[in-house]
């Protein structure tokens, strides 16, 4: 008996109960589709986080102020949990700290920064954006580029001028398509002159990197945040190779200045590559989790196949008896029912891949899914195996029915 003939019998068997076959196929379709789609969502979010982090600049090291010994903040740097029984008072991160760091070997620039969230308004339009106060060196350290106008100058920092550089999204929200350079925006009621607009950087995970405004450090401290602690100090190393060395130097310098031990540090030193590895391991966990959920739905689809094939075999007991009486060997019956189950799962798998790939064209909860190429053959292959595995039990039952009993079955 040729495989083509077995295949034809299997197709006829499936066609005999189209609705049932379609519903069983749907189970596998959903399983395979969700594997492809959810893995793509996980991968997409991981890629967008990685893009955002690498846009921070490979040479940048960020010193972030933490609450330290206050004990309420969870410091997340590995090995340096926030001390709760510290002797030293947590100290502010200051401009003096930044100046001290500037003496370190291998440091190209140091930009102390404060940040706050403020409402910007121009005429009738307003926008809530994150406002950063820093030095001009902040821009290259953050990999920012201009699309219009210019950065503010060191001179303007020293004289605390009310000037601001807008992120591209903030600029669009306030001015639409008009050129903002030279216009005056109100930041928390204070008029600032727009001197430049930054080029679009794209989304960085949860917040937009473009809905920002950057003004001189002195101005922001004067008008808005006061002269307390800095939020962070952005240090740019002279080369990517020096990042780790510089990071160590920064830590020891600041420990010394703040009389800290590593167990009660009131600051954290981050660089893009350490953020990247943390973020990608998080994203990996996320992807695995999504994939596991999808795999479970594939498993449920597989059990659906077993179920429906058992029903089919029982329903067609008499037909199996007839086929056996006229000379079908157990092998041929097994092949027919296995082919039916595998066809169900493979049709479901193919449609599922199609649905999954179509699904990845849409943005899902803010994430642009990126298809993992391997997930397609993998999900399809697994669906075929599911047909063989979950169809095996019912097919085997059909193959070894006793013909005399099967023929008598009503």
């Amino acid at each position: 008996m040729s495989p083509a003939q077995v295949f034809r019998f299997a197709l006829a068997g499936l066609a005999a109960n189209k609705l049932r076959s379609a519903l069983t196929t749907l189970g596998i379709l959903i399983g395979v589709g969700s594997v492809v789609l959810l893995v793509a969502v996980g991968n997409g979010s991981s890629q967008s986080v990685q893009n955002a982090i690498s846009s921070l600049g490979a040479n940048a090291i960020t010193v972030v102020h933490t609450e330290g010994a206050a004990g309420t903040t969870a410091s997340t740097t590995a090995g340096t949990p926030a001390g709760t029984t510290a002797f030293a008072e947590p100290q502010n991160l200051t401009v003096q700290d930044a100046q001290a760091l500037a003496q370190t070997q291998g440091v190209a620039s140091v930009s102390p920064a404060v940040s706050t969230s403020e409402t910007l308004s121009y005429g009738a339009s307003s926008d809530s954006a994150s406002l950063t106060g820093s030095y001009p060196s902040y821009f290259p350290a953050e990999d920012d580029t201009l699309s219009a106008g210019s950065y503010f100058t060191t001179q303007e920092v020293n004289t605390a001028r009310d000037v601001v550089v807008l992120g591209s999204e903030a600029a669009t929200d306030l001015f639409g398509t008009a050129n903002p350079v030279g216009q005056s925006v109100l930041v928390a009621g204070i008029p600032f002159t727009v001197v430049g607009v930054l080029a679009t950087k794209g989304a960085s995970g949860l917040t937009s990197a473009d809905n920002t405004a950057v003004a001189p450090l002195t101005t922001v401290q004067d008008a808005l945040t006061g002269f307390g602690t800095l939020n962070d100090i952005v240090v740019q190393a002279t080369s990517a190779a020096l990042v780790d060395t510089v990071e160590g130097e920064i830590t020891s310098t600041l420990d010394l200045r703040h009389h800290e031990t590593t167990s009660d540090a009131d600051f954290e030193v981050l660089n893009a590559s350490s953020l990247l590895s943390t973020a990608s391991s998080t994203a990996h966990t996320f992807t695995v989790l999504l994939g596991a959920v999808a795999a479970i739905s594939l498993l449920v689809g597989g059990i659906g196949i077993t179920n429906i094939m058992l029903v089919t075999v029982t329903e067609r007991t008499r037909e199996i008896g007839i086929r056996k009486a006229i000379g079908a060997t157990p092998g041929v019956i097994l092949a027919q029912f296995l082919t039916e189950a595998t066809l169900l799962s493979m049709i479901g798998g193919a449609l599922g891949v199609l649905a999954g790939v179509i699904g990845t064209r849409f943005t899902i909860v803010g994430v642009r899914p990126v298809t993992v190429p391997l997930s397609i053959p993998l999900a399809f292959g697994v669906s075929a195996l599911i047909g063989l595995f979950f169809g095996g039990f019912p097919a085997n039952r059909a193959a070894h029915m006793r013909p005399a009993d099967a023929l008598r079955y009503e």
């Binding site: 003939q5 056996k324 009486a325 006229i326 000379g327 079908a328 060997t329 041929v332 005399a404 023929l407």
Partner: protein, 263 residues
């Protein structure tokens, strides 16, 4: 005593084998179901030989063991004890797979309930045993058409079973039974679901097949069906209680060509 299956013929063919090896040979066959106290003795030592070209009716009331006999003769079931040979092949040594091949090559079944496969045309139903035998499509088609013409259904080849009358369905079943040119045609109550007219037509087909040399075993409880056979065997309580020969195995069937009795 045993002869290999035709397709696996090896060595020299038996040249001067004793004349007329029986198509069926049962030697002290018993069949029991269940065990211990619940044991049912369906057959209690049946011995029987059917010669090639013979036309045998096995008669008995329900529960007499005739269905069990039919299952054993049809290789659908195996004896509990005793020996059963079909066309010289001892079935006790065969596994499930080999029994399937014997059913395919040696036996053509006709059942009371027709047992055609639904949603397959008459032609496809008749081709089915040839598919299992591994024949190519063109050859299958050719032989299935010839078989359907032989039973007078040349014009209904593409019809599905549900579009056919009972008599027509049973004739498709007969075509399916004879298409492999089996050593034996085994019919289990073939007229049980047919009216008088269709029954007569069907028995006429069987008579003509026997004239053409087919060995036929009919299982029935109707005397007027049994009257078509050359030999009538009575079964009761799992044993053969009567064996009456109406005419010789090489003679013509007794009721060949008789007009139908109108009710």
């Amino acid at each position: 005593m045993t002869r290999p299956l035709p397709r696996h013929a090896a060595g020299p063919p038996p040249i001067a084998e004793p004349q007329l090896q029986p198509v069926i040979r049962l030697v002290s066959v018993t069949k029991t179901y269940g065990s211990d106290e619940a044991m049912v003795h369906a057959l209690r030592g049946v011995s029987l030989e059917v010669a090639e070209g013979d036309y045998v009716a096995i008669m008995g009331a329900s529960g007499s063991g005739k269905s069990t006999m039919m299952n054993i003769i049809g290789c659908l079931d195996v004896p509990s004890a005793g020996q059963f040979l079909i066309d010289g092949i001892d079935t006790s040594s065969l596994d499930e797979q080999q029994l399937a091949v014997v059913r395919n090559r040696k036996i053509g079944f006709v059942f009371q309930a027709f047992n055609l496969i639904p949603r397959m045309s008459a032609l496809a139903n008749v081709e089915l045993p040839l598919s299992y035998a591994g024949l190519r499509a063109a050859e299958r088609h050719h032989r299935a058409e010839a078989a359907l013409r032989l039973v007078g259904l040349a014009d209904r080849m593409t019809a599905q079973p549900k579009q056919l009358s009972g008599g027509q369905q049973q004739r498709v079943a007969v075509a399916r039974a004879l298409v492999t040119a089996p050593a034996l045609i085994l019919a289990d109550e073939p007229t049980g679901n047919l009216d008088t007219r269709a029954s007569h037509d069907l028995m006429d087909v069987f008579d003509r097949l026997n004239v053409a040399g087919r060995t036929i075993v009919l299982i029935t409880h109707e005397a007027d069906v049994a009257a078509h056979a050359k030999r009538v065997i009575g079964v009761q309580d799992g044993q053969i209680v009567a064996d009456r020969r109406l005419t010789g195995p090489d003679a013509l069937p007794p009721l060949l060509g008789q007009p139908a009795v109108r009710p």
